[in-house]
């Protein structure tokens, strides 16, 4: 056997070049997408700000002072002014990145895990189990997402954990639907049939043949939910249903500064600007990722 192969190797030199993997080409396309890269840089900056939080804030974000209430932007010592209790707004915005980003990312992450799991089981099992799971999912999907989030956190009461639960419940059906759809597609491929015919167990088939093919699309869909999650989570705090004072969170800050829109409009609008920037950046990054993963797009 080896004696017949050896001369062929010599006659055919390096034509069998390893083609770059799928993920490598996705990364390559993403790196060339200038808009997505700029958005990614902003996201990175925000994450850095959240991580370094207490070490880089110019002042104590909790130190209140009745004398220094609602100072305008550019006040010496308070670069972005002060809030309704005289706390340094810049410090609060920086520290606020921690809770706001957490409340935006954590529900999507939880929903990604549970939604994928539910969708995988429903899609791979098919039959009556699929029907039962998907009809239940449909019931939750039948609620407008803002309504479901508010109803749930309204029933559970304010608090970080309750908001997290409420938002996760909102996103699980959406992710599960996508996961079920892609799993059903992959399940009917020939290589899955072949694996089944060769005696592989369901667990092995899912782990080896299905998971790698479905996680990508589910992941991209989930990233598009981050911006929704940011807006909803801050919205819950804005209504008084999320993070409780005095913790700095952008939505909550927007709520407490709402009374100041006639006296210090620029200061009052600032926390919203942070939410806006974050949500736009996540959206642009997610869009870039989607078109980078879509092979039909410009190579």
């Amino acid at each position: 056997m080896s004696s017949t192969l050896a001369p062929r190797r010599r006659t055919l030199p390096v034509t069998v070049q390893q083609s770059p993997g799928y993920w490598q080409s996705v990364l390559h396309r993403l790196l060339r997408d200038r808009v997505a890269m700029a958005a990614g840089a902003v996201v990175l900056l925000l994450l850095l700000m959240a991580a370094l939080g207490p070490w880089i804030t110019p002042a104590d974000p909790y130190a209140a002072s009745m004398l220094k209430r609602l100072k305008p932007i550019g006040t010496p010592g308070f670069l972005l002014g002060t809030d309704e209790l005289g706390r340094d707004l810049m410090s609060r915005l920086m520290i606020g990145a921690r809770l706001s980003l957490f409340m935006g990312l954590a529900p999507v992450l939880c929903a990604f895990v549970f939604g994928s799991l539910i969708g995988l089981v429903a899609g791979y099992a098919g039959g009556p189990l699929n029907t039962v799971i998907m009809r239940t999912i449909d019931v939750f999907y039948a609620f407008p997402s803002v309504l479901l989030a508010i109803a749930l956190s309204g029933a559970l009461g304010a608090g970080i954990l309750n908001s997290l639960v409420a938002l996760t419940v909102v996103f699980v059906p959406q992710i599960a639907r996508v996961a079920e759809a892609v799993t059903t597609q992959v399940r009917n491929r020939d290589y899955v049939d072949a694996a089944r015919a060769s005696g592989a167990s369901a667990f092995t088939i899912v782990r080896v043949h299905v998971l790698g093919n479905v996680l990508g699309p589910i992941f991209v869909y989930s990233t598009s939910l981050i911006s929704v999650s940011m807006i909803l989570a801050s919205g819950l705090s804005f209504l008084g249903l999320g993070v409780k004072p005095p913790e700095p969170e952008w939505g909550l800050m927007l709520n407490t500064l709402r009374t100041a829109i006639y006296t210090q409009p620029a200061v009052a609008a600032l926390p919203g600007v942070m939410i806006f920037i974050t949500s736009v950046s996540f959206n642009l990054l997610s869009d870039g990722l989607r078109s980078a993963m879509d092979n039909k797009g410009a190579a």
């Binding site: 019931v139 039948a142 609620f143 309504l147 309204g154 559970l156 807006i231 009052a268």
Partner: protein, 317 residues
């Protein structure tokens, strides 16, 4: 068509039942005694038991659910714990106010969104397309409650062109389609329209780009049709999907109006939901969520049926 209608209905009814069950269960998730907000802290055990019986909280959950559903089907959503008024009347009044806001917002969003979407899809990769895409990304990313605040800051507080809050010169009572009342609608409706605008513009752009790549467009052009002629065909092909997206957006706005209503003190369902949550008024909370969710399911159904009527290619029956 008739068989399709029946099939679609047989799918919608279990969903509606499920939705009611979720609304019911949701409220019973709430920790604490549902009557705590009206019972005085030193109420005797007998009084508490009496109240419990009055509101039906002493029965088993399945019994409560069955009774609630049976009454809801007859238009009776119980009595508000906080105000003592019937929930159904309160909700219906609020739904009217929210519907007015949501319909106007959806209309603005649809007109602008499909305009941007059409232009962007038709002149793909031009600067108009880039601008429209940017606008739609901004539209879906903006925290609309913040946008509402900014609108108030600009148009009410600084320019003093429009009123900041409320739904008319005499509060929430009486509505007329004149400028006296309409000026109260402008800011909340424009703020609200940003979301459907972004989504509709995205959908229409993708739709137009997809249709333009199809062979019949090449055929039409080969037959010597003008741009305008091609555009007419494009419109006919894109309309059903665009309208369906619009219908769904209306449903989302109805259910999601709470944040905007809070900013503008608009006396709609969001306002009702807000007070129900903070006063722990369980019957009111249950009723409002149920009505909004059922409205959304119904809207989905209508959109689906209309789409089959509008689009002869969907032969679902």
């Amino acid at each position: 068509m008739f068989t399709y209608l029946l099939r679609r209905l047989s799918y919608a009814l279990p969903i509606m039942l499920g939705v009611s069950l979720v609304c019911f269960a949701l409220v019973h998730l709430a920790p604490g005694d549902p009557l705590v907000s009206i019972l005085p802290p030193d109420a005797s055990a007998e009084l508490a038991a009496q109240m419990r019986q009055l509101y039906g909280f002493d029965r088993s959950y399945p019994e409560q659910f069955g009774l609630w559903l049976w009454r809801a089907a007859q238009g009776d959503l119980g009595t508000s714990i906080a105000t003592g008024r019937p929930v159904a009347a309160e909700v219906m009044k609020a739904v009217g106010n929210t519907l007015r806001l949501a319909v106007v917002a959806t209309a603005i969003g649809f007109v602008l969104g499909s305009l941007f979407g059409f232009v962007a899809g038709f002149f793909r990769n031009s600067w108009v397309d880039k601008l429209a895409s940017l606008l739609s990304v901004l539209g879906v990313s903006v925290p609309h409650y913040w946008l509402g605040m900014v609108m108030v800051i600009i148009f009410s507080s600084s320019l003093m062109w429009l009123p900041a809050t409320g739904a008319g010169p005499s509060g929430s009572e009486g509505w007329a389609w004149d400028w006296e009342h309409l000026q109260f609608l402008v800011l909340p409706a424009v703020t609200m329209s940003v979301i459907p605008m972004g989504i509709i513009s995205r959908t229409v752009r993708a739709l137009v780009a997809e249709i333009l790549e199809q062979e019949f467009i090449v055929g039409l052009r080969a037959r010597g049709l003008t741009q305008l002629g091609v555009f007419r065909h494009l419109l006919k092909n894109a309309a059903p999907t665009a309208l369906a997206v619009m219908g769904l957006q209306l449903g989302y706005l109805l259910g999601g109006s709470i944040l905007i209503e809070t900013v503008f003190s608009w006396p709609g369902t969001g306002f009702l939901l807000n007070s129900a949550i903070f006063q722990r008024d369980l019957p009111l909370l249950q009723g409002t969520i149920l009505v909004l969710a059922l409205f959304f399911v119904l809207l989905n159904l209508i959109v689906d049926l209309l789409q089959t009527l509008l689009d002869p290619r969907i032969a679902r029956a």
